[in-house]
C-alpha cells in the first residue's frame, strides 16, 4: 500500500480507538455528578454505591482515553504535517485552548475525585467531580469546533498558501459547529447511558439485588429513553445542515447518483463505484426528498454533480445505515425498558439480557457516525481548502506499516482487556466481593505515617 493510504489507515485506527473512551467519559462524568448531587441531597447510600462502582469504570475508561489521546497529538505532526503548515493558524489555537482549559483541569481533579474522598471535605470532592465533568465537556467543545471548521470552514482568508484568521467568532461558530456539538454530546450521553445500563443489568443477572445497582439500571435506561428522541431530531437538523454545506457527502449517504426531484429514501442498496449506479436497491418513494428538503418533490443533488470531488460511496452509505439502525434499536430498547420498569418494577430478565448485549451499542453508532462525517468529507481534509493527499508527510510506507501493525495489535489487546475487565468488575461487585481497595483501607498494610 502507498504511504498516503497507510497514513490514513493509521490515523483512522488511532482516532477510532481514541473516540471509544471519550464517548463514554464525557457522558459518564455528568452521570457521576448526578449521582454525587443525589447523594448530597438525599443522603441515601444507594447513590453513593452507584457512584463508587461507576467511578472505577470512569477511571479505567479515562486512562485509555488519555493514552490514546497523547498518541493523537503526535500523529497530527507525524502523519499530516501539511495540515498544520496550511491551517495551523486556526487549528493551533483551538487545540491549544483544549489543552489549557480542559486537559489539565480534568487530569488534575481526577486524582482528587478518584482517591481524595478521605483526604478532602465532601464539598471539595463534589467540586472535583464537577471539574472533571466540565473538563471533559470543554475538551469535546474545542475539538468539535476544530472538526466542524474542517467540514465548514469560515472566518479566514488564504495568504501565501496559509489560512489566516479574519474573525474568531466565525471560526468558532462556523455553520456546522452547533449541530455537530449537540449531536456528539447527546451521542456521548447515550453511549454512557447504555454502558451504565448494560453493566448494571449484568450485575442484576449475576444476582445483585442492591438498591445501588437498581438505581444505576434505572438511571441508565431512563437517560437513554430521554436522550434518544432528542438525538433523532438533532441528527435530522444536522443532516439538513450538511445538505446545505456538503451536498456531496449527503449524496454518498443516500447513495444517490443523479440529481433527483422527489428522491427515494434507500433502505438498502449496493453502490457500484465503477458503473456509477446502484446494483440493487429497496427504497421508499419520495421519502428521501421529504427528509432532506422537507418537501416531497424537493431537489436532491446526486453524486454525478460532484464527479471526482466526492468520497467513496459504499463506506459512507453503509456507515450511515449502521448508525441509523443502532439508533432505532436504542429507541425501541430504552422505551420498552422504561415501560417494563415503570412504577419501580424490577427489570425482567429479557430486558437485562438485551441491555447487556447493548452495553457498547453507543460505540457502534458513534464510530459509524464519525465515519460518515470524516470519510464523507474526502477527498478534502479541510473542505475546499486542503486535500488529504496534500497534507501527508514524508515518512516512508515501511515505517508506517511497522508502527501501524504494532498499534493495531496493541489496540486490539487493550480493547479485549478493557471490555473483559469491565464485566469482571461488575461480576465482582455483584457477588458482593469486597473490592481490594476497601480491604486495604480497613486493614492497612503499613502503619499510618507519623507526619503527614
Amino acid at each position: 500500500m502507498e504511504a498516503l493510504a497507510l497514513a490514513r489507515v493509521q490515523f483512522a485506527a488511532n482516532i477510532t480507538f481514541h473516540i471509544l473512551f471519550p464517548a463514554i467519559t464525557i457522558g459518564l462524568a455528568w452521570i457521576l455528578v448526578y449521582f454525587k448531587a443525589k447523594e448530597n441531597r438525599t443522603g441515601e447510600s444507594r447513590w453513593r454505591d452507584a457512584y463508587r462502582f461507576f467511578v472505577k469504570v470512569f477511571a479505567l475508561t479515562f486512562a485509555l482515553g488519555v493514552v490514546s489521546g497523547i498518541t493523537m497529538s503526535f500523529q497530527f505532526g507525524t502523519n499530516w504535517p501539511g495540515f498544520m503548515e496550511t491551517v495551523g493558524n486556526i487549528a493551533g489555537p483551538l487545540l491549544g485552548y483544549e489543552v489549557l482549559t480542559a486537559f489539565f483541569l480534568e487530569a488534575t481533579f481526577l486524582g482528587i475525585m478518584l482517591f481524595g474522598r478521605k483526604r478532602v471535605s465532601n464539598r471539595v470532592h463534589t467540586f472535583a467531580t464537577w471539574m472533571v465533568a466540565v473538563g471533559t465537556s470543554m475538551s469535546a467543545f474545542w475539538i468539535l469546533v476544530l472538526n466542524s471548521w474542517m467540514q465548514t470552514p469560515t472566518g479566514f482568508e488564504m495568504r501565501d498558501g496559509q489560512a489566516h484568521v479574519v474573525s474568531w467568532m466565525d471560526v468558532i461558530f462556523n455553520p456546522s459547529m452547533p449541530y455537530r456539538l449537540v449531536h456528539m454530546m447527546i451521542a456521548a450521553g447515550l453511549t454512557a447511558a447504555f454502558v451504565v445500563a448494560g453493566l448494571a443489568a449484568f450485575r442484576q443477572l449475576r444476582g445483585d439485588k442492591t438498591e445501588g445497582n437498581k438505581t444505576s439500571l434505572r438511571v441508565g435506561v431512563w437517560l437513554a429513553a430521554i436522550l434518544i428522541p432528542i438525538q433523532i431530531v438533532a441528527g435530522d437538523l444536522h443532516g439538513l445542515n450538511t445538505v446545505e454545506h456538503q451536498p456531496a457527502k449527503v449524496a454518498a449517504m443516500e447513495g444517490l447518483w443523479e440529481d433527483t426531484k422527489g428522491a427515494d429514501l434507500l433502505i438498502f442498496a449496493w453502490p457500484d463505484e465503477e458503473k456509477r449506479e446502484n446494483r440493487f436497491e429497496i427504497g421508499i418513494p419520495k421519502a428521501g426528498s421529504l427528509i432532506l428538503t422537507h418537501d416531497l418533490d424537493g431537489l436532491v443533488l446526486g453524486l454525478n454533480s460532484f464527479e471526482g470531488e466526492h468520497p467513496r460511496v459504499a463506506p459512507v452509505f453503509f456507515a450511515f445505515r449502521i448508525m441509523i439502525g443502532v439508533g432505532l434499536l436504542m429507541l425501541v430498547v430504552s422505551w420498552a425498558g422504561a415501560w417494563a420498569m415503570r412504577k419501580g418494577r424490577d427489570a425482567p430478565a429479557w430486558l437485562s439480557r438485551t441491555l447487556v448485549a447493548m452495553t457498547f451499542s453507543g460505540w457502534v453508532a458513534t464510530v459509524a457516525g464519525w465515519y460518515v462525517s470524516e470519510i464523507g468529507r474526502q477527498p478534502w481534509l479541510v473542505q475546499g481548502v486542503l486535500r488529504t493527499a496534500d497534507a501527508v508527510g514524508p515518512v516512508g510506507a515501511g515505517a508506517i506499516a511497522i508502527s501501524l501493525s504494532v498499534y493495531l495489535l496493541l489496540y486490539l489487546g487493550l480493547l479485549v482487556a478493557y471490555v473483559s475487565v469491565l464485566f469482571y468488575l461488575a461480576s465482582q461487585a455483584a457477588t458482593g466481593h469486597i473490592p481490594r481497595e476497601r480491604e486495604r483501607l480497613d486493614n492497612p498494610l503499613r502503619p499510618q505515617p507519623a507526619r503527614a
Binding site: 479505567l60 488519555v66 505532526g77 489555537p93 487545540l95 489549557l100 488534575t108 486524582g111 482487556a417 483501607l441
Partner: protein, 330 residues
C-alpha cells in the same frame, strides 16, 4: 511582536518541557524501578504516583502542543524525523498508562502481567525519550555512531528518571522501601552524571556554533559556572544519599530537590546551546513561527489559564502531601 512572540513561545515550550521532564520523570522513574520491589512495595510505589501521573503527562501534550501550534513548520520536520522513536515512546506510554488501572482492576492472576506492562512501558518510554534527545542533538544524523550515541543517551535518561523516581520515593515512602530507594538513587546518580557529561561534550562537537557560544570569552567565564555548579550538586546529592543510607533523618526531601536542580541546570545548558534553533543550525524559532495574530490569541489563553493550572496543580499535590498511603476509592 514579530520578534518577541516566538521568543515568548519558545520560553513557554521550554517551561512546559522542563516541567514535563521533572514531573513525568519521577513517575516514569518509579516505573523503571518497579522490578526491584516486592508485591506490597510495588503497590506502594504506584500509589505514590497514582494521583499525579495523568496531569504530569499533560505537560508533554502542552509542550508538543506548543511546538505544534506555535512552530508548525518545525513540528512537522522534527516529528517526521523522529517517527519511529515517537511510535516506540507512545507504545510505552500507552502500556504504562493503562497498567495503572488494569493492575488493580483485572483478575488477580493477571496482576503480574500488568506490572510487567507498567515496568516495560515506563522503560520503553524513558529510553525512547533519551534516544530522541540524542537523535535530536546530533541533528537527526543517521549513522551508526549517531545511533550508538543516541542509545547511550537513552540509557542515561532512564538513569536520570530513575534518580528522580528513587529520590521521590525516599520522600514518599518509609521503612524497607525507603532504604531500597536510597540505594537505587545512589546507583542512578552516576549514570545520570555520565549522561549529562556525554550531552555536554557532544553538542559543541556537533555544531561549531554551539562550540563558539560556550567557549568564547568573556561569556565562558560565566558559563563555566553551569558545569561547576552541576558537579557540586551531583556531589552534594552523593553525600546526602550516603548519609541517608546510614540513617534516615529529616533531610529525606533533599535528594529529590537536588536531583531536580541537576535536571534544571542540564536543561538550562541545553536550552542555551540550542537557542534560537528548533532544529540545530537549520530552523530558528522565527522561521517556524505561526502568524503573530494566532500566537497572540494563544498567549492570552496562556496568561489566563496557566496561573490557574499551576494553582490547582499545587492544590492537588497538597491534598496528597506526606507519606504515601494505600490508594482507595472510598
Amino acid at each position: 511582536m514579530e520578534f518577541w512572540l516566538p521568543v515568548v513561545f519558545a520560553g513557554l515550550m521550554a517551561l512546559a518541557m522542563l516541567i514535563y521532564v521533572v514531573l513525568d520523570g519521577y513517575d516514569l522513574g518509579v516505573g523503571v524501578l518497579l522490578n526491584g520491589a516486592d508485591d506490597n512495595e510495588k503497590d506502594m510505589m504506584i500509589a505514590s504516583i497514582g494521583p499525579f501521573w495523568d496531569a504530569n503527562e499533560t505537560w508533554l501534550v502542552l509542550g508538543v502542543g506548543i511546538l505544534l501550534i506555535a512552530f508548525p513548520m518545525a513540528h512537522g520536520v522534527i516529528l517526521s524525523s523522529l517517527y519511529l522513536e515517537v511510535a516506540v515512546m507512545l507504545v510505552g506510554l500507552i502500556l504504562r498508562g493503562v497498567a495503572f488501572d488494569f493492575r488493580v482492576k483485572a483478575r488477580e492472576p493477571h496482576k503480574p502481567l500488568w506490572n510487567a506492562a507498567f515496568f516495560g512501558g515506563s522503560l520503553l518510554a524513558a529510553l525512547a525519550q533519551g534516544f530522541m534527545l540524542g537523535h535530536y542533538i546530533t541533528g537527526f544524523e543517521n549513522s551508526v555512531g549517531a545511533f550508538a550515541f543516541s542509545l547511550l543517551i537513552g540509557v542515561c535518561v532512564v538513569a536520570g528518571y530513575g534518580l528522580l523516581g528513587a529520590t521521590w520515593l525516599i520522600m514518599k515512602s518509609e521503612h524497607e522501601l525507603q532504604r531500597k530507594a536510597v540505594r537505587w538513587a545512589q546507583g542512578a546518580l552516576w549514570l545520570t552524571a555520565a549522561g549529562i557529561a556525554a550531552v555536554s561534550i557532544a553538542t559543541p562537537l556537533v555544531s561549531e556554533r554551539v562550540f563558539a557560544r560556550w567557549f568564547e570569552f568573556p561569556q565562558f567565564l560565566l558559563l563555566s559556572q553551569i558545569p561547576a555548579i552541576s558537579i557540586a550538586l551531583i556531589l552534594a546529592c552523593h553525600f546526602r544519599l550516603r548519609r541517608l543510607a546510614r540513617e534516615i533523618d529529616h533531610t529525606e526531601w533533599q535528594p529529590f530537590a537536588l536531583a531536580v536542580s541537576i535536571f534544571l541546570l542540564a536543561f538550562a545548558g541545553l536550552a542555551y546551546s540550542l537557542f534560537p534553533y528548533l532544529v540545530i543550525d537549520e530552523i530558528t524559532i522565527w522561521d517556524a513561527a505561526s502568524a503573530p495574530e494566532s500566537l497572540l490569541v494563544i498567549l492570552w489563553g496562556v496568561v489566563i489559564t496557566l496561573p490557574a493550572i499551576l494553582g490547582y496543580t499545587v492544590f492537588a499535590y497538597r491534598v496528597f502531601w506526606g507519606k504515601t498511603r494505600e490508594l482507595s476509592y472510598e
